[in-house]
Each structure stands twice: as C-alpha cells, then as structure tokens.
C-alpha cells in the first residue's frame, strides 16, 4: 500500500518557485530520506506534506486520501523538528500527551501510550521534568516520543540531528534506525548530511533547486548515479571530476572517479603534487593537485607514508569511472 503519494506538486512564494513538479510514491514501512544542499526545497517539501504550507498546485495523498485541504493535525502525521520545539511550560509527560488530549482520547489510553513510548526511548525517569531541565539528546528523544504516541501513518523528521554533537548524533541515528525497524512505520527524513541519508534510508530522494534529481536505494544511487550532481553529492570524500581530455577523452566531457578507486602507480595517466594528507588511522586521504585540471582526492586504505609536496603518479580503472556530458548527464 502507498503511504504517501505526491503528484505534480509545485510550490512558489511570490515569483520564486521553490518546488517544481514533484512526483513521488512512498510505500508503507519505507524509510525515505530527502537529501540535498541547503535551499534545495527539501524542508519546504516536508512542510507541504505536513500541511504547514499549502501546495500551489498538485495533489498530496496520505494513505490514499487527498489531504490538500486537511489541517496538519488531521493528516495522520507526526513531525519531529530540528529545534525540538518542545512546549516549554509543560512537563515531558504533558508534552507527549498534548496531541492525544486534543484528539479527546481517554485518560487510560493516553497513559498507556505515553508509558509505552517513554519505555521505548528510556525516558521513564524524566516524565515529570520540564524541557529546560533536560539535555539536548534527551530533548530530542522527547520530541520523538511526542511523535510516537500519536501512532501516525507517516513520521516526518526535519533535520532532527543537526543540533546534536557528533557522538550523540551517531547514537541517535542508530536509535532512529532501530525505531523504524521496531515500529515498521513509514518515515520521511530530511537532512543535508549524506552520511545520515546513506545509513538510514531504504530510499533516497536527491533534490536540487526544487526538482527531484534521482530516486533510489542508497547503493543504487552510489553505484549508478544519473548525473554529475548526484554523483558528487553522495559519498565522502566526494567524487573527483576531471576533464575527460586530460585522460584522453572528448573535450566537453567529464570523468568522475570515486576517491577509493584511484590507485598510486609507477606510471599513470595522472600526475601531480601532494598538497595535503589526512591520516585517519584506518584510511588515508590524500589531496593531489593535478596541473591540467582541478585538485583530486584519493582515499587509500590503511596507513601510508605520503608527504606533502611529494609527486605521485595516479591511475584508475575505466570500468569504475563515470562519464558525464557537458550538461552533467551520465552517458
């Protein structure tokens, strides 16, 4: 069954078109991640789905019902915000219970759902506290709990990890993935972080300038990007692009090679000086300046003794490279 379907959704603010003809299907139980650079319209798209913004044209269907004119609270969605957006004057318990009280649920039902959610997120000890007395990670768990108790058809996450520090971000990321498995709910997750997208998604939607660039599973997009933008956006360090002419190709084409597919050799097609080395223990990232084209990054596994200013000869396997035309489209 389809949890969400968007048909020809457009959104403009005045003369500015933010979303251009968005078509998308989300199946039940899927974890879909919207990813793209800032200003690409991913948050606006989420707001249109939530009903916080109206689509200028097109239709939004949640659970096979058109919801274009339905207010957010009646769409069967729950949303987790970047800034947590907890009600400062209510306790953790009341924060979670508020939506259910608005729906006029019975008290026993409310208590039962709050208890279940707080157990799932280990928040039992904090139920009587106010948001100001909680740490950032706890606040975000309360925000997630507030979404869970509503038992929505669709969860919406708006960059929920951006305000957390790196260690906490990874823990919470794993928690969200586990949550998705145990609830088996449909989730839409917005982020600009490609690592979050790759690790969480069952389906990634890459957006740019209000258009969908490509839709697919993380590995599909990684191994088979439709264009230069998607190729460059996913993967860290990001893909290297060099003019095809430097390696014996046509003049207006571009070759894309992932950093891990470049080898150091005795006699290669590329040659340049090392400008920077990042030793990470497990990997070594080397930045090399190639005179005829832009600088490239290569990722070597293990530890290597490469010094800055050293001259390196590099090569790559043509089968592992991608060829793009002048418009950035894949051949």
């Amino acid at each position: 069954m389809t949890a969400l379907s968007l048909k020809n959704v457009c959104k403009s603010f005045g003369n500015v078109e933010v979303l251009k003809d968005i078509n998308l299907e989300v199946d039940e139980g899927e974890f879909v991640v919207f990813v793209g650079p800032s200003g690409c319209g991913k948050s606006t798209l989420l707001r249109v789905i939530a009903g916080l913004e109206d689509a200028t044209s097109g239709s939004v269907e949640i659970g096979n019902a058109v919801v274009n004119t339905t207010p957010p609270a009646k769409r069967g969605i729950a949303m987790v915000f970047q800034s947590y957006a907890l009600y400062p004057h209510l306790t953790v318990k009341d924060n979670m219970a508020l939506a259910l009280k608005q729906q006029k649920q019975s008290k026993s039902e409310i208590d039962q759902r709050v208890e279940k959610a707080s157990k799932m997120l280990s928040l039992e000890d904090y139920l009587e506290r106010r948001p100001a007395e909680l740490s950032g990670g706890q606040r975000q768990r309360v925000a997630i709990g507030r979404a869970i108790v509503r038992e929505p058809k669709l969860f919406l996450f708006d960059e929920p990890l951006s305000n957390l520090d790196a260690a906490l971000r990874m823990n919470t990321r794993i928690e969200i993935a586990k949550l998705h498995r145990s609830l088996n709910a449909s989730m839409i997750y917005v982020t600009h972080d490609q690592t979050e997208a790759m690790t969480l998604a069952s389906k990634i939607v890459v957006l740019r300038d209000g258009r969908i660039e490509q839709v697919g599973s993380p590995m599909e997009l990684y191994n088979n990007p439709a264009n230069q933008f998607v190729a460059g956006f996913l993967g860290a360090p990001s893909m290297n692009f060099i003019a095809a002419s430097t390696v014996g190709g046509a003049a207006d084409q571009t070759v894309g090679i992932r950093p891990e597919h470049i080898r150091v050799v005795q006699d290669g097609r590329l040659k340049g000086d090392v400008t920077h080395v990042e030793k990470l223990g497990g990997d070594t990232n080397v930045l090399v300046d190639i005179p005829e084209t832009s600088g490239i990054t290569l990722r070597l596994f293990g530890q290597h003794d490469i010094e800055v200013k050293e001259q390196l000869q590099l090569d790559f396997d043509d089968a592992q490279s991608f060829l793009f035309d002048a418009d950035g489209l894949r051949f």
Binding site: A50, Q82, Y87
Partner: protein, 279 residues
Amino acid sequence: MNKALRSPFNIFASHAILLTYTLIALFPVFVILINSFKTRKAIFREPLSLPNADSFSMIGYQTVMRQGDFFLYFQNSLIVTVSSLFFVLLFGAMAAFALAEYRFKGNALMGLYLALGIMIPIRIGTVAILELMVASGLVNTLWALILVYTAQGLPLAVFILSEFMRQVSDDLKNAGRVDGLSEYTIFFRLVLPLVRPAMATVAVFNMIPIWNDLWFPLILAPAENVKTLTLGSQVFIGQFVTDWNAVLSALSLAILPVMVLYVIFSRQLIRGITSGVVK
C-alpha cells in the same frame, strides 16, 4: 568583562553618576512627600525641612479625604489605566502576531500604517475625537478615556511586540499545529508566555502616561463621577488660592498605585530591555 570596566576608579565613577542621577530623580518626590505631612505655614517657611513635632500635620490628607470623592477618583483612574493596558496588550499582541506570523497581501504596508501612530501625537486629533465622542454619546464616560488610551498605546505595542514575536521559534508554532492546537491556543498558550518580558515593557511604557494624563480627562470626562485622580487633584489648585496641603497629599497618594504596578512589572521589564543583549 573588559579591564576598563573593572578598575576601581571606573566603578566608583559610574556609581557616583548613577547615585547623583537617582538623587536628582527622587528629590521632587521626596519634597512632595515630606511637605504633604506639614502644616501650611511650615511648607512655606522651610520647604526642605523634615516634618517635626511642631510642623507635623495630617490636614492635607484630611482635606483630600473630606473634599471631593477621592476614592471614586482613585477607582476611576485605576479602571481606566488597567482596562486601557489590558486592551493595548490584547489587541497589540493579536495584531503583532498576525503581522509576524501570517503572509498576506499588504502585510508590510499594514505594519507601517500601524507604526505610523508612534510618530503622530494623538492630541492633534483632540477636536475630532471630542466630536466623535459627543456623536456616539460617550462623553463623560470612562469608556471615552479607555478607547482613546487604547488607540494611543497600540502603535508602539504592535511595533515592539511584532519584533519579539518574530523571534519565537517557528518550529514551536508548527509543532502546535501538528498536535492539533487552534491558532488561538497557539497564540495564548505558546507565544504569549514567551513574549511576556516584552509585554511588561509595553505595559510600563503605557501605564505612566495614562495614569498622569490631564488632557483627555479634562476634555472628554470632566464630570464629577468619572473624574480621574489627576483631574480630581486639580480642585485644590484655584485661580487665587491653592490648598497646597491637599495638592501635595493628593499627589503623594497618586504615586502609590503606579509604584505598586511598576514593582510588579519591573523584573520582567529589565528582562525585556536586556533580552536582545544577552543570548
């Protein structure tokens, strides 16, 4: 804190300046207070001396209590001030919320139009206001004053409050919408508590001019049963004879309620003024 602010000389100097200013500001109030407890002769002979056994007298307060219906004036002033403040804050906050929160045609123009009132003194329109009040039969009612003061206070209230409301997180309001709160609940339960310091600032800025105003009570509501305190005190100031004991006692009494209200609002006020400074 930087070094200059910590040096003993600077601390001393800044305290000296602040103390001097405090003395200057409090001195007239002090003179009014001490003289209100003295006999008429003592007021004129030694206006700056404290009341002693010889010169102490409650005659001023007795006159005030006896002559005119002082408690009624008091009550009128209080009703007018509190109701005006209530309406200024309520309508000002509502307008500010609409301007800050909703996109509609003419939003910026409407904001400008509402702010224009800050620059144009309402007294310019006195004649028109009087005609309006006569036509609507509101002359000599407290409503005349309440309406005028509400109109007078709204521009600044809308201006200040809309700035503060823009700072309230959008996510919080949207979370309320997703949870099924009505726009009114979002406004009253989520947004208003967060802009409380700004509300207190607006309240204090409006309260004192309303309480002290003589102009509109004199023109719009001079009748005995709707006189305000400031207007009521004027009965003791005559063209030829002024009952200074009574005037000073009336003024001393008039200070009290504003002071109480100020103390209530002041903590919030300071937070309101400094909230932009410290994040």
